[in-house]
Amino acid sequence: MTGAAQAHRKLLTVITESNLERDLVREIEALGVAGYTISDVRGRGDKGLRASHWGHSSNIRVEIVCDTPLAERVLERLREKYYENYAIVMWVVDVEVLRPDKFR
């Protein structure tokens, strides 16, 4: 795709415990993330099945489109804060966006 106003960014996807939502949002906003999207998911990983209908034991997916340096800062911070004690998984994809100014 070669539209004039397009540019490359990173899409960082985080899957983690839903009870972390409030805390994690505060954290990424403090790092300068201006936009994100959250949805409710369930799944299995190292910490076992997380699919209960019981609110606080299922997962959320947080998606953040931003530039590479910010994505790295967020990755780093979440790793250092949550990796040890929480169920969390993250991955990064290259995306093209239309209005690059929206995603610093």
Partner: protein
């Protein structure tokens, strides 16, 4: 007076869950049902408070605080030095058992209604108060009093948690509106109470089944802990009930509260404040063992003990 038939719904849920039957209640139903139960318990207390103002309330509240702290300490020391759990897990489990289970309280309220036993209107207030010290103490025991603990956040979470808020809100509404004022909402909040509690227990049974077999380590010790703590704590609760000079009904409820373990407020608070504790240990104990024990065996037992204890002197 034996088992309340309402616990059959718990058994049905538990059975369905164990058999991995295709029976789920959506989370929205759980939230609706628990909202109505919490408001209803609060409103009943508030209506009674409006009728007969509580004497000596300050002392009762103080004793309740002390009860909460005492139970948490006892649980912590048993876990840490008998069970040899590490510090974080001991603190987290202790917070669950020092705190209370509203579902268990609701079953006890239904049980008393069925048996025609009345109780003090302050009990819902004591319930709220008993939820709090255990959680705060649990965090302190796990982390020590060090800098960086987000006490503001924790206070917010504990004091403005869903259950505290709905109970206190219900109390205030009941107190302000009085029995006549609430008559138009009685069909939903009072007449349906037991039916809605039945749906809640069905759901609790399903959830408890999910947590069966949740211990990896400490299984034997934790199983014994989850079965023996309730009667022990119930007896301590009865002692405090005697100090407060509660009626038999009030004593049964306070004993039930002491015997019960939190599975809503405490897990949420521990997960964010003591993340290194393994939530599976405390949830399995509280949900899959202590909760069924209390509603199936405990409550009738505590009734007998209360009647024996409080009627002896007379």
């Amino acid at each position: 007076m034996g088992l309340d038939p309402i616990v059959l719904f718990f058994a049905l849920g538990l059975g369905a869950g164990i058999l991995k039957a295709d029976l789920r209640l959506p989370p929205a139903i759980y939230e609706f049902v628990s909202t109505v139960l919490l408001l209803s318990i609060g409103m009943k207390g508030g209506i009674e408070l409006a009728r007969q103002p509580a004497d000596g309330l300050a002392l009762d509240l103080l004793l309740t605080l002390i009860l909460g702290i005492l139970l948490t300490f006892i649980a912590f020391f048993i876990l840490r030095y008998v069970g040899r759990l590490d510090r974080s897990n001991s603190a987290a489990v202790a917070a669950h058992y020092g705190s209370v289970s509203i579902g268990t309280f609701a079953v006890a309220v239904a049980f008393l209604a069925g048996a025609g036993i009345s109780y003090e209107p302050t009990l819902p207030l004591l319930l709220v108060l008993l939820e709090i010290p255990a959680i705060v103490l649990g965090i302190l025991l796990a982390r020590g009093v060090k800098a960086g603990t987000p006490w503001g956040e924790i206070a917010h979470e504990v004091l403005l948690g869903r259950s505290v808020l709905l109970l206190l809100g219900g109390l205030a509404i009941g107190w302000a509106a009085g029995p006549e004022g609430l008559e138009p909402v009685a069909p939903l909040f009072f007449d349906l109470f037991k039916g809605i509690l039945a749906v809640f227990l069905l759901e609790m049974g399903l959830i408890a089944a999910d947590h069966l077999g949740g211990f990896r380590r400490h299984g034997l010790f934790m199983g014994a802990f989850a079965l023996l703590i309730p009667p022990l704590f119930a007896m301590i609760g009865l002692g405090f009930a005697a100090l407060m000079e509660l009626s038999v009904g009030g004593a049964i409820l306070l004993a039930t509260l002491a015997a019960s373990a939190s599975y809503i407020a405490a897990p949420a608070a521990m997960r964010s404040a003591v993340p290194e504790a393994n939530p599976a240990i405390s949830l399995t104990a509280a949900l899959a063992i202590t909760f069924p024990f209390n509603i199936l065996v405990g409550i009738p037992l505590y009734q007998q003990a209360a009647e024996w204890l409080l009627r002896t002197p007379s």
